[in-house]
Symmetry: C2
Subunit: 406 residues, 2 copies
């Protein structure tokens, strides 16, 4: 059955584009997407042909200057944004600060930012930094997931939520919450880090105000790839963000003392573009754009459902607790299980070539990437998990300091 | 004589480390340092061996996690900082925001930030963003270069200056101004973008509070390389910066909701490290650390002096105006000349393989990099300049939109 699924997989030809080492089942594209042949070739080109031969001229001749909005528009295509609404720049953390600050400044008379307890920590930390900086005029209102929506009220300036939860992979209903926020007069900022390239995010159709996201997970942009910012066109003329660097200036090469923001999405840029990172990201995104979006959605749900089904079948006796929505269609592109020995089990899995990851205190995460994973990989992974649980080989694993990176 | 200088150059062996294309005299290391063999090899390694084979494990096995402070400490060595005072992260613009905000917050009761008119624009723009954000409690006090020091007073919270001016290459006396600021109770932030890797910056000896700088100029870190932040150890416990992302957390992998800043320089970090950019930067810095600092200083002054001498000798009749200090020892690692047709002349020079750059309205900049330039290059460059001026070939050059990047 698993063999049949692979034989009829319409996305099978994409597997050869990814350079996964032999013997590895890579279930961590939700933390760091793997190297593609395209990125490999692109990095060779940007280093040797562009930096090496074009030198400073590369800003024009190799198109470095356009990278933020060229790659941004490609990501925008994956997220249901119109051209001119998305730029690549900085880290997701820094970008979140920029858009939340911009949204907050647009909402005079409202002083509260609503977010979720247990949101990805850096999002909470950046809001904390914003508050520390703005002072008592800014109130960060953190609620349990179930209470977030009902806590949006007439004092809410901005709602800051993550589309797909980094542990559970639960999906917030973006359109519905955005509509609810707008009814209350609030603006929304969505963090798409775990959804971009994994599940559909219809930014324009959902009337989303601002969004940010991560380049190094499902976009396969390379370790620490730059993030991106989306801002709906209707906000471009009024939005102002505090990190107003020269790449966000209307005419940066006039070198004037006065800051005049670009009239479009470019005002979300700050400093000089990191060309190596943005170039690798473009190569990753280009591969995503070649694939049929509906086929990716379908395969993601089937991979995720198959994993769950096999775990239920083969690992039923071992106290694994599902920490994700029950139905694969309600999850992003990963699944989490809790287990008392989760850390050691994951270390064992990794040692045996099944690479997922661990999140404190006891979550094991397994990611599903329709472009490079086979159904047979799913079966192989669960069989290794079953063996580890059956033999209790994890008891021998040493606990080491937690050092993986989401 | 030029041949003798090259024959006795103690740094001559470094030239082979740089991959400058044949026929190019590269006088723009002050905008974008050239590719080294070391960076070429390192990028091949980080892409193929680390990202490709280690995948997520690279954060530990390939040392990605330590990049910010490992590379930071190496840059600190070049700048007279103690270990543990420097981190690599983000862009120079974003880093400037972080340190100025941190310094400003430490100075309760003082509301003014003093800086120079004509400072590198992004520095002024970031201060503008900070002010727009903080509001009327923050006053940006911009003075002509000659009046900066005398404008420091009891209301001054922070003095923000660039060590080597991006157009004139004039050097601010760092120790003297820092002492003056401290006497008035102000803190200092120095932008080392045009000095790091080019001229000596004794951060500890000068008792500098904070500094930032650029990785893609004289450090040869690659296009848009990350910048760095220095903070004197005495400020680590009290400094707080608003872009408090998870990489600045004391224990990022506990994934707690509450932000607890790292107890050291790492609290200046924000989001996930851009591994590709930071790795290329490390390769560039490693080459600098191999070279003798005194020999580099001496050769920089001699290259710069020779260029000036030859321009005076060969180009005396063509209305070139020196826009830099008269004495080479008083300049950073570039020199600027003004000319009515500066833009077209520079286009001509570049077309003939002499790559400098142009800054509006009429400045031609020529950079001097002791590790990859020969004295013979200097003579060759001035001879091409002389020919262009004599034949007026620049009159044929088309004016194009300004698009080069500092």
């Amino acid at each position: 059955m698993v063999t049949d699924l692979d034989a009829s997989d319409p996305l099978a030809q994409f597997q050869q584009r990814f350079l996964i080492p032999d013997g590895i089942v890579y279930m961590n594209g939700n933390s760091l997407g793997p190297l593609t042949r395209d990125a490999q070739l692109r990095m060779d080109k940007v280093v040797n042909d562009e930096w090496g031969r074009e030198l400073i001229r590369g800003w024009n001749s190799a198109g470095w200057y356009e990278l933020p909005w060229r790659v941004g528009d490609k990501i925008g295509q994956l997220a249901g944004a119109a051209p001119g609404e998305t730029v690549v720049c900085d880290s997701t953390s820094v970008n979140l600060f920029k858009v939340v600050a911009a949204a907050f400044l647009m909402q005079e008379g409202r002083n509260t930012i609503v977010t979720e307890a247990g949101n990805f920590p850096t999002d909470l930390y950046m809001l904390d930094g914003l508050k520390r900086f703005v002072g008592d005029e800014c109130n960060i209102d953190i609620h349990a997931r179930a209470d977030v929506v009902s806590s949006i009220n007439s004092k809410t300036a901005v709602v800051v939520l993550t589309h797909v939860h980094y542990v559970s992979a639960a999906i917030f209903p973006m359109a519905e919450i955005t509509a609810r926020a707008h009814e209350a007069g609030a603006l929304v900022v969505w963090d798409l880090s775990h959804s971009i390239g994994a599940i559909q995010a219809d930014l324009n159709d959902s009337e989303v105000d601002f969004a940010v996201g991560c380049g190094y997970k499902h976009l396969n942009g390379g370790p620490g790839a730059p993030g991106f910012i989306y801002a709906a066109k209707r906000h471009h003329a009024t939005m102002q963000q505090p990190l107003s660097g020269w790449f966000g200036h209307a005419r940066p090469f006039e070198f004037s003392d006065e800051f005049i923001p670009a009239e479009n999405i470019r005002r979300m840029l700050s400093g000089t573009t990191g060309v190596l990172g943005a170039s690798a990201l473009e190569a990753g995104v280009d591969v995503m754009l070649e694939a049929d979006a509906a086929a990716m959605q379908e395969k993601r749900v089937r991979l995720s459902g198959l994993f769950q089904e096999l775990v239920t079948e083969l690992c039923v006796d071992f106290d694994l607790q599902l920490a994700s929505p029950e139905d694969a269609a309600d999850r992003g592109a990963h699944i989490s299980y809790r287990h008392e020995h989760g850390y050691a089990i994951m270390q064992n899995l990794i040692a045996r070539g099944v690479i997922g990851d661990f999140r404190a205190p006891d979550y094991m995460r397994f990611g599903f990437s329709p472009l490079f994973m086979r159904y047979a990989d799913i079966r192989a992974a669960v069989e290794v998990l079953q063996d580890i649980l059956t033999t209790k080989s994890y008891e021998k694993a040493e606990y080491q300091a937690l050092n993986a990176v989401t």
